[in-house]
Amino acid sequence: MKRRAFMLSVGGAAAGMVLLPRMAFAAPGVIDWYTSSDQNILDFWTNVVKPKFEAANPGVTLNLVDAGDGPGNIAIGERALAALSSNADPQADYFESYDPLLPAGAIDAGLFVNMKEAGLSNWSKINPLGIESDYSMPYRGSQVLLAYDTTKLDPANVPKTWPDLIAWIKANPGQFIYNRPNKGGSGGNFVRRAIYEANGKDPSKFTTTNYPELGDAALAPAWEILKDIAPSLFDGGAYTSGNTQSIQLLGQSAVTMIPAWSDQALSAIAQGVLPETTGLVQLQDLGLPGGFSRSVVLSNGVNKEAALRLADFILTEEIQSAVLTELGGFPGVSWDYISADLREKFKDVIPESIPSFPGGEWEKAINEGWYRNVAPNVDPAS
C-alpha cells in the first residue's frame, strides 16, 4: 500500500514536470527573426527572402516569427535586454522592423549592433533619407495613400488635397472609413495627416522629444477635424480594427475609399483581394505619412554573424528589386542602385520625400487622445 502510494505520487509529479514549460534554447545556425508587420511582409520573407538567403548561405536557416504588433516586438526586445544583463540567451537575433530607442536605454546597454560600423558591404548604398540611427538599417519604405473604387469614383474627380478629401467625404456620407490609429498604420497615418493639417502642414514641427512642449494643444484641433467628418464616415462614424479590415470593406464594395499602405494595397490588388478597378492616389498638398522600416540586429544573439550577413543580403540589388516588384514597397537603398528599367517602371510611386511622424510620447498621446475625443462619437444605441 505504502509503496503504491509512493509510486502514484512520484508518477504524478513526474507527469507534472513533463507538462511544465520546457526551457528553449536558440539553435546555432537558425536565425530567430521577429516582425510586427502585416501578413504581406511575412509572406515576402517566407516566399522570397528566406529561400534566396538559405540558398546563398548553406547551413543557415531563418526562423520567421510573427510577434503580432509593435508592442509584441518590444516585449521580445525587453526579454533580450533582460537576457543581456544576465548573460542569458535572448532567443532572438533579428528584428525586421524595430525602433532601437525602445526599450529605453537599450542602445547604451549595448543591446543592438551598430549597423554603420558593422562592416556591411552595402551600407553605403542606403538612401540617406531613411537613416534615423546608426543602430537600425532601413531596407524598405512604404507610404499610406488613398485606395478607391474607380467604378464608383471617376479617377478624374478623385480628391488630391486634404480640403478636397474632406469635402468629398462630407459629400459622400458612409463611403469612407479609416482604422483605429493604434491598430494599424493606414488609419494611424491618416490621423497623423490630420494632425499635420491642424498644425500648418509642417512635418518638421514634430520631433520625437517635443511632445511635452507642444502637448495636447497641437492635437486638440486635429480631434476637431476628425470629429467633424465622423458623422460622414461609414455607418455614421465606425472605425475598423486594422489595415486588413479596411481593405476587406473596400473589397466588399461597402465603402468607396480608404487610406491604405501602398505595399499592402498593391499586394491586395495582385492577389485579387481588391479588384483590378482599385485606384491609388496620394494627396498632393502633403502626402499621407509613411516611412522606412528599419531592421536591427541584437548584439547578444547566438547567430549575430549570420544575422549581419542577412542584413547585408537584403540590401543587395536582388532583394531590393524584389521589394519593388514583389512587395510593392520602395527600396531602402538609393534609386541609383536599382536597375534602370525598374526605376522607369515605378517612377510614379517614387516619393520625393516622405513625411514621417515621430514616435515616442506622441504615439501614446495620439492613441489615447483619439479614443477619448474622436471614437465616442459612435452612438452605441445606433
Binding site: 500500500m1 505504502k2 502510494a5 502514484l8 505520487s9 504524478g12 509529479a13 507534472g16 504588433d69 508592442p71 483605429r180 493604434n182 461609414f234 455607418d235 465606425a238 472605425y239 475598423t240 480594427s241 486594422g242 479590415q245 476587406q248 470593406l249 466588399q252 464594395s253 461597402a254 504615439e363 501614446k364 492613441n367 489615447e368 479614443y371 477619448r372 471614437a375 465616442p376 459612435v378 452605441p380 445606433s382
Partner: protein, 292 residues
Amino acid sequence: MTLTAASNDIVGKKQGRWPVGLLLVAMPVFLVGWMIIWPILSAVWRTVWLPDEGAGHSFSLETYRFFFSDQYSLNNLGVTLWTTGVCAILLVLICVPIALYLRFAKGRLAAYVQGLAIFPMFVPSIILSYAIIRVLGPNGTVDLLLNSVGLPKIRSPYLTPWGPVIGLVWDNIPLTVLILLSGLGNVSNQAIEAARDVGARPLAVLWHIILPRISNSILVAVSFTVLGIFSSFTLPYVLGPAAPEMMGPFMQRTFRDVNDPTMAITQAVITFAFCIVFGLFYVRSVAKNRAP
C-alpha cells in the same frame, strides 16, 4: 452510508490514504496558488501601493478613484456589463429549447442537431470573427441573398455592440447546451410520465417538473459563460465599435498602446471583482449540490 465502512476495508487503513489524496490535489492547488492567487494579490498590491511624490511608495486608491470618476472608463464597463447580460439572456433562451429537444428527441435528426450545436466549440474565434464580417458584414452573404430576391439590405451589426453579441452567443452555445444536457439527465422519464398520467400539459411539465430540476444547471451554465464573455477579447476587438470598448480590448490597449500598466492592472482588478461575483454563484450552486 453503509458503503463507507466497507470501502474502508477494501482500501485499507485510513492513515494510509491521506498522503495519496493530498498529493493528488497538491499539483492543482500549487498551480492555482502560483498562477492565479499570487498574480491577483500582486495585482491588487501594485494598484494600491503607488509611487508617491517622494522617492518611496504609499497606500493610494488614486487609480480606482480615476476609473470610477472617468466617464470613458465607466462607459466601457457599462458596455461590458450590457454585452454580458444580453448574451446570458440570449444563451438561456436559445439553449434551453435545444437542450430539451436533444434530451427527449430520438433518431438521426437529433444527432445532426447535436452535431450542429457542438460545432462552434471547434471554430477558433478569430476565424469566426472574419466569417461574421463576410456573412453579416456590409454587402456580405446575407445582403447578397436578400438582394437576389429583391429585399433591402440588413442593418449590419459589424462595428456595433451587436457584432460581439452575435459572435459570443454563437461561440458559447456548445458549452451551455452541454451543461444543460447534463442537468436534464437528472430529470427521470418516470417523473414526466407520472405527471402526464395525472393530466399535466407540456407547459406544466416544463414548469413544475423539468425547470426546478435543471435550475441549478442553468445557474452553472450562466455563470460559466458569463465569466468567459466578461473578459472576452477577440470578438469584441474585431467586431465591436471603437468606443465604448469592452474591458478585454480596453485593458490590452491601456497596457500596450497607452503604455500605462498600473491603470491596465486596475481595470483588470475591477474586471476580476465582477467575475468573482459570478464565480461565487457557481461555487454556491456546486456546494449546494454536494450537500447530502
